[in-house]
Symmetry: C2
Subunit: 253 residues, 2 copies
Amino acid sequence: MTAIRSAQLTAGAAQPAPGQSRYGWLASSLRARITHGEWVPGTALPAEAALAKEHGVALGTLRQALALLVAEGLLERRHGRGTFVRAGLGGASMLRFFRFRHGGEMKTTPASAILSRQVLPADPDIADSLGLPVGASVLEMQRLRSVAGEPCLLEQIWLPLPAFDVLKDSDPGAWGDLLYPLYQRLCGVTINKAEDELRFGLLTHAQATLLRLEAGHPCVQVSRSAFDLGGRCVEVRTTLGDAYAFHYTAQVR
Amino acid sequence: MTAIRSAQLTAGAAQPAPGQSRYGWLASSLRARITHGEWVPGTALPAEAALAKEHGVALGTLRQALALLVAEGLLERRHGRGTFVRAGLGGASMLRFFRFRHGGEMKTTPASAILSRQVLPADPDIADSLGLPVGASVLEMQRLRSVAGEPCLLEQIWLPLPAFDVLKDSDPGAWGDLLYPLYQRLCGVTINKAEDELRFGLLTHAQATLLRLEAGHPCVQVSRSAFDLGGRCVEVRTTLGDAYAFHYTAQVR
DNA sequence: CAGTGGTCTAGACCACCGC
DNA sequence: CGGTGGTCTAGACCACTGG
């Protein structure tokens, strides 16, 4: 609290912390104003010159601060247009781990069906990931994603509950196929980045049935933690898909 | 050819291409001097001030050019020390896809054993990856990597042959456990970056025997193309490992 | 201590965009 | 056209490193 207070006070005309570069301090200041919603995702910040003058800093210094936030994925700069707060992740990103081709088409967004939805107390793992006390209420959902009518991905999703209350009673039929834009629309939560962890395993009988495979079929499990603009984890998700459809490419260094 | 020629001619005192930023042109110029071996990996470049004066450019402009090369992984800057040509990839990077723990130890470099080595004509896939004509001579090797005496990774490696002739007759027992440093030491080839492609599959009987698993055991296959400082692909490798030891984490955006 | 890269300034001019 | 970010300059001073 004190930190926030002093940050706001010093935003007008003060020094960066000792040993802290001025552009680093400036970036923190701007980051706070963005995560606090002063500039809504998709909108433009004031021009370089205005921001520089406002903070009593040279243009080059301000640009270094903005470069940091661009690298973090918080901002996006467009030549001749302006500096924009990033709109957030789209949501079809799970496809980068699998190839589900259908008649040569490859750009289809999988259709989404909510299989179950319930409020329950968070078990230790989920609570830890979401930064909640063990036993806090979370919304748990199961979701099946299909391409051209063929089920291909089975997901289990946990959401912290004060923030996502709206989803408890809203009609899933009207949600659409992507959750991240939904979070932004209905809950005001912008997903900015995510971390995926991949493992290999075998499908249980129940899982296999839903995916129209046999029990014991090899599968890849993607465990994802998704973070909002402030860096807080606001969604935990595990996705199961056929191991034979798995493919992934990575750059080293 | 013409491009290289003119780049060399203009390196002394000319203009960047029209529509090309000066720091971008400067970066190309420096990149060429690095890949041509003017500065050996591990050594320091002249100081900022010297380079800036040499190219008749302001300090800030030179720093932008260097920043590009740092982002490419070609250079490394150390405050108070200097600007260094990167030493190249270490080589233990395959471990990031698997977890082979042994008694709680996790930082061990796997021991390496060369199982076979032969010169043969490149098949179309390999030739295409290496940028060679089909049927060109390549050195093919099979290699088994073990942690604490337990075999864990089975590799097949292809190298283009004029460049890696030295490895045909050299004694593999003296190679050590990492190939990339070996390439640099014996062949003067620095591995700067690589691309990995992951798939899932089942072990053949022969593969399973070498890894001390049963035939048909699930495995992850990593297909890697490795590139030198000039961006040319100089090694193709496929690595097989137990799917149950597979784990990987990735950042999204 | 001398030499290196890191930060910061206060300008100028250019390239792109949308009206 | 006016407004935006992108490039470039020619300095100054600071912070780190090694002998």
